[in-house]
């Protein structure tokens, strides 16, 4: 039917064109239909559980709607304290990751491919190793009579073993180690894309290597830095295993509090509310960084 009408109209005829346009639209719809399995899976595995989570957070023990789980978070000082500590640790870990990771990524991006590939494996290998294994490895290294303390005492740098674990120090050391690839990899990718001619141009115009770095290279690497920074920070916010093991219960972050709430209360409500708040905060941060990144990208063209 469609074919016969198309054949009946001559090229250039208005009908003929709309027929073609309809074809194009139909093809677009069909192509979009190919996404359906993926979309359904996303709905099923992402939005449904999250919806559930929110739903539970508004239900009390008797199954009645309530705000008590949320009001508890704001009124009880302990919860607020945990959020504050979580943000403090996440910010600190992210800052340390930036300070350590930026030079590493810069180094990687400047080395010839042969060497940078080798060093990249040095970053990826721990990245591919189990989180739990790495965390317990730090436990071995940092304990009272662990390798680190023994070495420091043998060298006469300290007299008494340093308290390196079951506290903030251990938590942060472990988290930095786990998180640093998340910062380095996107940063490295963005640095690789910075054309060397920008730095040559800066030098040609009279910029010393230091000034060229601060005024040209750093601004151009900012999008990658911001992307890695946000990724690291958000992963830190919800981090569970490493703070739990290396903090030894003395450092409480939100994820641990959620786990505790699940055990403590007979219903999912309190834990759900905490999860919902964490999700909301994370979303807000992502949104803010997206806006910031977008503005910067537009400037960079």
């Amino acid at each position: 039917m469609a074919i016969s009408t198309a054949a009946a109209n001559l090229p250039g005829d208005a009908h003929y064109l709309t027929e073609l346009e309809q074809d194009a639209r139909r093809e677009k719809r069909q192509l979009f239909a190919l996404c359906t399995p993926g979309l359904l899976l996303t709905m099923l595995l992402l939005f449904l559980p999250i919806g559930w989570l929110f739903w539970f957070s508004f239900i009390d023990a008797d199954g009645n709607p309530t705000f008590e789980h949320y009001s508890r978070i704001w009124t009880e000082g302990a919860y607020v304290q945990i959020f504050v500590i979580t943000f403090q640790i996440s910010i600190l870990v992210t800052v340390i990751c930036v300070l350590l990771g930026y030079p590493v990524a810069y180094c990687l991006s400047q080395l010839p491919a042969k060497w940078s590939g080798l060093l990249l494996i040095g970053i990826l290998l721990p990245f591919w190793t189990s989180l739990l294994v790495r965390t317990y490895a730090w436990l071995v290294l940092l304990q009272r009579r662990g390798i680190v303390n023994d070495t420091l005492i043998d060298l006469g740098i300290v007299q008494q073993p340093l308290p390196l674990m079951h506290n903030m120090t251990g938590t942060i050391i472990g988290m930095v180690h786990i998180m640093i690839p998340f910062l380095v990899l996107p940063l490295y990718a963005s640095m690789k894309s910075i054309d060397g001619s920008y730095l040559r141009a800066a030098a040609n115009l009279g910029a010393s290597p230091t000034r060229a770095f601060w005024e040209i290279y750093l601004p151009l690497s900012l999008p990658g830095l911001l992307a890695g920074l946000v990724l690291t920070f958000i992963l830190c916010l919800g981090f569970y295993i490493t703070p739990a093991v290396l903090g030894g219960g003395r450092v409480q972050m939100i994820a641990q509090r959620i786990e505790a709430s699940v055990h403590l209360y007979p219903t999912w409500g309190p834990a759900s509310a905490l999860g919902a708040v964490l999700l909301l905060l994370t979303t807000l941060i992502l949104l803010a960084s997206h806006l910031l990144l977008g503005r910067w990208r537009r400037r960079l063209g």
């Binding site: 054309d195 001619s197 920008y198 040559r200 141009a201 800066a202 030098a203 040609n204 115009l205 009279g206 910029a207 010393s208 290597p209 000034r211 060229a212 005024e215 040209i216 601004p219 151009l220 400037r299 960079l300 063209g301």
Partner: protein, 390 residues
């Protein structure tokens, strides 16, 4: 830093610019700013590869010199050694009276237009142009004034607050140029400055760059692989081949008196015939060709035929003040190309050469047909020989 007296007269191009119309060549030189460049025995090895093999050339005050060559000829390497981005294995580069070969690039005070322009994407057009002045700690008011002047000079006044990605290719090219000259560097370098532009814009910019150079009188060294670009813009062209300087001459002499087969082939269209030289004549098979000047060197040489130098004798006697050499052959191919018909002609000696029948002659001359005999003439003064080896 010493040796930059022209920085004190930094408003000099403003004066030139105020008389916007093109002035005679007398106004051209602001000699205080134009410094000569003496390049001596530059050698650059990359492992076993000799990228530059003992290159020496002197660029005069205010001269526009183009380094021309195919890729891998060393022309870009030579430019990079002048800019300071590549360190030569041996040799010396003197700008004005300063030996620069050991100076890092940021202390050389040499302006450069990069192939992809390398305009900083996180700065506006104005900030880009102001950057070299800011690096030199100029007062704010002076920076603003000079940025405005130079933007005006490249005909982009008022574009200061634009973002770089809002500019077209030609505009970026001008901004790159503005940024390279705003701090009045000792010399100006250009690395394939027009290669990113389309053909029409490229041809317009060639003329424009040449005009700007005439106005500023700045010693300029450009790199290109485009022979027409080199001929259009330059006072002199340095042809490089396999890391060596093959010929350094004016565009006219380069075209009319190429030093060897490579230069003759690289610049313009050319066909070659093997000839033997004896008693001031060249012999190609049975044909004896008169020469205006007897070239030195070996008896075996190559006759250089430029398509546009060949005359269509068409059997008739040719009244001409000079001797006309005659070459007989047969048309093997005729391709209409708009402004001319490209003819392939197989000579009696068996060699195939190319010639062009200009469009305006197509009607007069009998239309050349494939297989038709043809007689070509070549004036004695256009009968050029080049050494047989490359």
């Amino acid at each position: 830093m010493t040796g930059r007296p022209f920085l004190t007269t930094h408003h000099s191009y403003l004066n030139l610019q105020s008389g916007t119309t093109m002035e005679t060549s007398g106004s051209r030189s602001t000699a205080a700013r134009a410094l000569p460049v003496v390049i001596r025995n530059i050698v650059k090895h990359y492992g076993a590869v000799r990228a530059l093999d003992d290159v020496s050339l002197t660029v005069g005050q205010g001269e526009f010199v183009t380094l021309l060559g195919p890729s891998g000829s060393g022309k870009t390497t030579l430019l990079m050694t002048i800019a300071g981005f590549a360190r030569p294995t041996a040799g010396s580069i003197v700008v004005g009276d300063t030996e620069v070969v050991r100076l890092p690039p940021h202390k050389r005070d040499i302006g450069m237009v990069f192939q992809n322009y390398a305009l900083f994407p996180h700065m506006t057009v104005g900030e880009n142009v102001a950057y070299p002045l800011r690096l030199r700690n100029k007062p704010k008011a002076e920076i603003a004034e000079r940025v405005e002047q130079v933007l005006d000079l490249v005909q982009l006044a008022g574009y200061g607050s634009r973002r770089v990605d809002e500019l077209s290719g030609g505009q970026r090219q001008r901004i790159a140029l503005a940024r390279a000259i705003v701090f009045e560097p000792r010399i100006l370098l250009m690395d394939e400055p027009l290669s990113a532009l389309d053909k029409q814009l490229r041809e317009r910019m060639q003329i424009e760059i040449r005009r700007l150079h005439d106005r500023l009188g700045m010693t300029t060294i450009a790199v290109t692989h485009d022979q027409r670009e080199a001929l259009t813009m330059s006072d002199r062209v340095a042809v490089l081949h396999q890391g060596r300087l093959t010929q350094f001459d004016t565009p006219r002499r380069l075209y009319e008196r190429p030093a060897n087969r490579f230069v003759a082939e690289f610049i313009g269209e050319s066909s070659f015939l093997p000839v033997s030289v004896e008693n001031g004549t060249a012999r190609y098979g049975d044909t004896v060709l008169s020469l205006a000047e007897t070239p030195p060197g070996a008896a075996a040489q190559l006759l250089l035929l430029r398509p546009e130098k060949l005359l269509f004798l068409d059997g008739q006697a040719f009244s001409h003040s000079t001797t006309i050499n005659r070459l007989r052959g047969m048309v093997t191919e005729a391709v209409f190309q708009g402004e001319s018909v490209l003819l392939a002609v197989r000579l009696e000696g068996g060699h195939e050469i190319h010639t062009r029948l200009p469009n305006r002659q197509i009607d007069n001359a009998a239309a050349p047909e494939i297989g038709a005999p043809i007689e070509l003439g070549l004036a004695a003064e256009d009968t050029l020989l080049v050494p047989g080896d490359r």
